[in-house]
Symmetry: C2
Subunit: 412 residues, 2 copies
């Protein structure tokens, strides 16, 4: 009588939710032992409906950065909500949060808030077009900047016109960027870059210094604006923007979401003076819950805690412990693996698997899941501050078994 | 030393927020005595930073339906958040909420959740295009379906290509709809309609039965899908969709947000079987916080409370008391006014004012605000369940003074 609750809820879900579940939290692409539903989350752990406990290295696909249910953040949000949350005008915490982001971000002048990462990436493009009076935007095909049709070419219901005036480039390939820019002539409004290259199921690639500086130079030379999509990576590489942490680059527009409020629904756009008067001050931007205070209070508390608890360094240490452990496990078993990405957002693939077909990774993740650790065979993982060396060691105990299972099944 | 706190915070906001505040909650278009910030909200009241209390007939521009900080809803949200909110998979409350919406909505088969009203309107169009394999969508120009470029032609940074394959019609004018449909030939994917015509600063217009039935017939005849944008009106005309409440129409896709969670950030899309297999089951739709549980628990509690407390009827009664009071005040002073919209979302204009220039309404609203009642000269108002006859009488005491001031200033 295993997993009775999970089975029952999946069957109810199948009736009233498309495909039983949609989007990035649907488990269809994951090994069959992954739970679709979780009843509880705390620190770096989650529990499924049948009471099984997992160390969660997916962190809600990013939002969990201090630990699920972090007490300081939850108290800040609850206290704000007790006074007011969504009302007919904002609370002062909106100003404090904007001040905090501006003060943390080199080159920043203003901030705006929304709900989805997609809101901030789309708004960034609109602001860039308003500020420059130009149309073209350089984008990385198969890069991910949100779920709206603008960013998801080739999906059902999405039209070619949804990507009008977008021109593709190859991440970390400056020549392709220059070629794309040249094709735009005098009409280049912006270049949008992911904090790093995290195309689905591919090994992760950090931006090279040459590429990052080249993008900045291109923008300076042409008057285009540099948009860094920091929705996924924000606050896991640095607190003043990932490209500043990596290469000292000041972006014109930085898009945040996910980890900014430790799980509360919020996104932010932080911008430079250059795109304020004719950009941010001119565009139409609003949403029913964009001024809600509880999530803003949660964000302010999250950022203050990230500073106070020296979170980046702590998470980097845990991430390194994890990735070094994985590397040495693979090595001692003679398994060829590629561990990519920054230590706080690592990803592991097996040589021989391909992005479209990862049987070794599936075995690996399935086994880790059975032993109480949630990983992903196609998507980068996330380390939170709640993943201390104790939890990392527990993860490594599970991955050791998972590596052995890969060896047994695929090389036995 | 009036309004010291407000003045201080406005000056801080001016530094770090575009225009000091952006979007629909910016007070630039309102009389100068309106507060930009509110420190507290409870029931149907809000308090500004300097402690002044207001009866709020804007309800956060819609979200407040049971009363700010409704205890039952807040407890449901807090209890859920204590267990888990944003995690690596959804909680079971997501299924329960979908079941509830489907059971309440005639013709509904499934539900999806997102964060902004705009998410649900865009998703509805994408689903319609996927389900029909067609491109064209009939829209009401100057209708409002969200802040993204797709819905905001003519705004800075918005391109003509953002509205590719949209064809305009005139609300409540069936001939214009038919003409628009004919121009689409075999490529009509959907018709999107607002629950009623609430173009900014115009007198409100409910859909006529002829128009509503005509839209449904057109869709049935052509295989296009009927999308009702119920983001603003949802749950204030009926619990099974506004067009069903008004004219017994079953839509294919109903977009909800605003009042659905009594102020928590959530939107929903409720759809028919007709657009499930090839539409909702096929499209790519996701967001970092679309699976978060606390707002879903808040929505479930909100809807149950709306049913239990007989909210629609109660709000209608309060709304009628308000609008009849306003009408008789105007009449006895010899002021010509137009009171439009449903009783739960009324709007008042003065004959002689125009949509672009409403000096009488400005005097009216400024005076009401001075006497502690928040109205809007350009945007419809919202009645909540917390606006009982006591608060409506207090509102009417303020509007009596406001009407007299209009008479003195503009007809004195």
């Amino acid at each position: 009588m295993k997993r009775m609750a999970e089975v029952g809820w999946r069957s109810r879900a199948a009736k009233v939710l498309p495909r039983g579940m949609y989007g990035h939290q649907a488990v269809q692409g994951l090994p069959s032992n992954y739970p679709q539903f979780y009843s509880r989350a705390e620190g770096c752990k989650v529990w499924d409906l049948d009471g099984k406990e997992y160390i969660d290295l997916l962190c809600g696909y990013g939002p969990n950065i201090l630990g699920y249910g972090d007490q300081v953040v939850e108290e800040a949000a609850a206290e704000q909500a007790k006074e007011r949350d969504t009302a007919t005008g904002p609370a002062t915490v909106m100003v404090e949060l904007a001040e905090k982001l501006v003060s943390l971000t080199p080159g920043a002048d203003w901030a705006m808030f929304a709900k989805n990462g997609n809101d901030s990436t789309q708004l960034a493009v609109t602001i860039a077009r308003a500020a420059t009076g130009r149309k073209k935007v350089l984008v990385q095909p198969q890069g991910y900047h949100g779920a709206s049709p603008v960013w998801t070419p080739g999906r059902p219901g999405v039209l070619a016109s949804d990507h009008a005036h977008q021109v593709g480039y190859v991440y970390n390939q400056l020549s392709s960027l220059m070629e794309a820019a040249t094709s735009c002539e005098d009409d280049l409004a912006a270049v949008i870059v992911s904090a790093f290259d995290y195309r689905y199921s591919r090994n992760l690639e950090l931006p090279t210094e040459e590429f990052a500086k080249g993008v900045r130079d291109l923008c300076d030379r042409t008057g285009a604006l540099l948009i860094v999509d920091d929705v996924r990576a924000g606050f896991r590489l640095g607190l003043g923007g990932s490209w500043h942490a990596l290469h000292g680059i000041e972006a014109d527009l930085i898009c945040y979401s996910k980890a900014i409020s430790n799980g509360h629904a919020l996104s932010a756009l932080v911008g430079s003076k250059r795109c304020r008067d004719h950009g941010a001050e001119k565009v139409f931007a609003t949403g029913s819950f964009w001024f809600s205070s509880a999530a803003q209070a949660a964000a302010l508390a999250t950022i203050v805690q990230l500073e106070k608890r020296n979170a980046i360094e702590q998470m980097m240490t845990s991430g390194r412990l994890l990735t070094e452990g994985l590397r040495s496990q693979a090595q001692s078993l003679g398994l060829e693996v590629i561990i990519s990405g920054p230590p706080t957002m690592p990803f592991l693939t097996f040589v021989g698997d391909t992005p479209m077909d990862r049987p070794r990774a599936a075995t690996f993740c399935e086994t880790a899941c059975r032993h109480g650790v949630l990983l992903h065979p196609h998507h980068n993982w996330f380390v939170s501050l709640a993943h201390t060396s104790i939890e990392v060691e527990l993860c490594l105990a599970a991955t050791q078994k998972a590596m052995m299972e890969v060896k047994r099944v695929h090389y036995g």
